[in-house]
């Protein structure tokens, strides 16, 4: 018997899709800033300030992305149990470690059944922990590179100390590399969502639009979730 | 007669030491040594060949 359960609250879904859109925009504009492959002669409708517009877009979208991260951080404390920050550190609890082992076994074809969960599985949570870490590095390197130009600005005051230890070219390199790691993650994320959705049949794919997942009544009872 | 060492030799670029053996008012033997080493060849190894000129230009700035 399947039950319809409201799992992903509005802030979770909203920040998910804002993150998707902003990472796409930031990657496109960022790649152009790093390697401007579009030739502009100055007579096109988008000239004569094309790079300027691309950079401006990159900075504006970066702030939107950060706003989304801040909202999600708040919701990791204020939201329901499936939105909690605890999900990022599954190795802290005994059930988490078991779920982690089950998920790894499933992905390496050592175990037929995918782990039974309501939110996301422990391995996914651990991966998102790494992604949050990459987000932190990404925003830090971004602000450091933005702030270095204006040493009296707030971003330099917050991030300028890094230049005592690391050169801006190294930060730039890290900023580029993190983009590729996030793209690699996105590939994995979409693939795994397809796989888990088709194997578990819990409506995972539509849940990130609607918020509802379809969970077995047995599992709900086992997890102690009140019937809605 | 003594061995005379002049170090540093000035009015040249780089670091030079000259030692001379003087016997009866005549120089009978002399040694010169450059007293500075940087290892340009070792630094250049494995780099983009197009960068080589930027490095080798810095062997001597005179």
């Amino acid at each position: 018997m399947l039950r319809r359960l409201y799992v992903w609250e509005i802030p979770v879904r909203l920040t998910h899709w804002v993150n998707v859109a902003s990472i796409v925009m930031l990657s496109l504009t960022g790649y152009y800033i790093g390697n401007p492959w579009i030739l502009v002669s100055g007579r096109e409708w988008y000239g004569p300030y094309f790079m300027g517009i691309v950079r401006f877009t990159h900075f504006v979208v970066a702030f939107v992305f950060i706003a989304s991260l801040l909202l999600r951080t708040y919701w990791a404390i204020a939201g329901n149990e499936w939105a909690s920050w605890r999900g990022l550190f599954p190795f802290l609890t005994k059930e988490g470690r078991k779920s982690l082992a089950d998920a790894i076994g499933y992905y390496f074809f050592l175990r037929r059944e995918p782990p039974e969960v309501i939110g996301h599985n422990a391995l996914a949570g651990l991966t998102y922990g790494w992604i949050v870490f990459l987000y932190l590095l990404l925003t830090f390197t971004g602000f450091a590179l933005l702030g270095e130009v204006n040493t009296s600005g707030i971003w330099y005051k917050l991030t300028g100390w890094i230049f005592l230890f690391v050169h801006n070219q190294v930060l730039r390199q890290a900023h580029h590399l993190i983009m590729w790691l996030l793209i690699a993650f996105a590939l994995h994320h979409v693939y795994s969502a397809f796989l888990v959705d088709s194997e578990e049949g819990n409506g995972l794919m539509s849940s990130i639009f609607s918020g509802f997942k379809f969970i077995h009544a047995d599992l709900l009872k086992k997890m102690g979730v009140a019937k809605k | 007669m003594p061995k005379v060492a002049i170090d540093p030799i000035t009015r040249i670029e780089g670091h030079l030491r000259i030692e001379v053996q003087v016997d009866g008012g005549k120089v009978t033997d002399a040694w010169s040594s450059s007293t500075m080493f940087r290892g340009m060849e070792l630094v250049l190894k494995g780099r983009d060949p197009r960068d080589a000129w930027v490095f080798t230009q810095r062997i001597c700035g005179v």
Partner: protein, 369 residues
């Protein structure tokens, strides 16, 4: 005969430098230091009356390029004024005494003017194998620097080598070369990096020291803000082409002939803080980017490793060889991940067909029932 206000001006007049040229120099220095015009008379008075501080110029693992940059300044008065204002007691390349006599001039200054003289250092200090890679008069560079710098009023490092070690310290750093700040910590030190440094900045730093009795304000790496406070990219004459998205794609192409931005040719202007676009070189004739070649970032720490390859935007990723930068490594990772998950997808599809999940069949039963 015109009456001159001071001995300095008299001395300059003998060299054919007029009062007008002297005042022009004072104005140029005020401008270089970003001071308002009312400071010009103060600079003038200081240069004319300040006591001549003794200066010793030490060369370690150097190429003499910074001495050349200093001596070849042909703005009629700069070097004359500085050499007449300062008393340069030791500079191996231009001094008359050699050997023991040269060493005597150095250590006499250290003893007699303890705490009052300036040290200018050119070249890095080797620290490997007991510092044998640079010795002068049988003493290692490190010993000399320790003795001379610790008794000085201030230490001015000129050039990239004395700042962070320069190319001798580039990977794999065969001689353990270091900048002065790292080899002899705790000095009153100001850094004028560049490869070579720009004589305008050295002159302005000295003028600041003579006028205000202190070194100019610096950034956190010890570089004076008047010279290293602004990014090359932000003062570049090609910046408008960057903002427009107009880039040189190849040496000698139409964009290169039209003076477009050198960003894609590996210009490190966006990563480098220096006043080259403003003060330029050879009496303001031109500068590297003006001449059509990208900036190599010579005033930044470790630039031989972090700014190279000089014809690429990003440095190499350590461990991946000469040709690979972060974007290529990243694209490789994305490709690898895609391949792994494509394989995983195929295997999963095979497994789902061969070994269907029990609950799927059960659920279809539910749906029917």
């Amino acid at each position: 005969m015109i009456e001159f206000a001071s001995g300095l001006e008299n001395a300059l007049a003998l060299k054919g430098i007029s009062r007008r040229e002297f005042l022009k120099f004072c104005s140029a220095m005020a401008a270089a230091l970003a001071l308002p015009p009312r400071y010009v008379p103060r600079i003038e008075a200081a240069l004319a009356t300040a006591p001549r501080p003794p200066v010793v110029w030490l060369e370690f693992q150097d190429c003499c390029g910074d001495s050349e940059s200093f001596l070849r300044a042909s703005r009629p008065s700069a070097v004359d004024i500085v050499l007449d204002t300062l008393s340069v007691n030791y500079h191996e390349t231009i001094m008359a005494p050699a050997g023991k006599a040269a060493e005597k001039s150095l250590y006499d200054t250290v003893e007699q003017s303890k705490g009052k003289y300036l040290v200018v250092i050119e070249g890095s200090i080797p620290t490997k194998d007991g510092g044998v890679y640079c010795t002068i008069g049988g003493k290692t560079a490190l010993d000399i620097a320790n003795r001379v710098c610790k008794n000085a009023a201030a230490t001015i490092t000129v050039g990239a080598c004395a700042f962070f070690g320069g190319w001798p310290s580039a990977s794999p750093n065969p001689t353990g070369a270091m900048g002065v700040g790292e080899a002899v910590p705790g000095l009153t030190q100001i850094n004028l990096p560049g490869c070579p440094h720009n004589v305008v900045n050295l002159t302005a730093t000295v003028v600041h020291f003579l006028t205000f009795g202190a070194l100019p304000a610096t950034d956190q790496l010890g570089r004076p803000l008047f010279a290293y406070g602004k990014r090359i990219h932000d003062n570049c004459e090609r910046r408008a082409h960057y903002d427009a998205g107009q880039f040189v794609e190849d040496w000698g192409d139409a964009g290169h002939r039209d003076g477009w931005c050198l960003y894609k040719m590996g210009c490190k202007g966006p990563a480098t803080f220096h006043n080259c676009p403003v003060v330029r070189w050879n009496d303001g004739t031109s500068w590297p980017v003006g001449a059509g070649h990208g900036c190599v970032g010579c005033s930044e720490p470790d630039f031989w490793d972090t700014m190279s390859p000089f014809y690429r935007r990003l440095p190499n990723v350590p461990g991946f060889g000469v040709e690979v930068n972060a974007d290529q490594v990243g694209a490789g990772i994305v490709g690898g991940v895609a391949a792994v998950f494509a394989a995983h997808g195929i295997l999963s599809a095979i497994r789902a067909r061969r070994q269907p999940l029990a609950k799927h069949t059960a659920e279809s039963g539910d749906a029917k029932g």
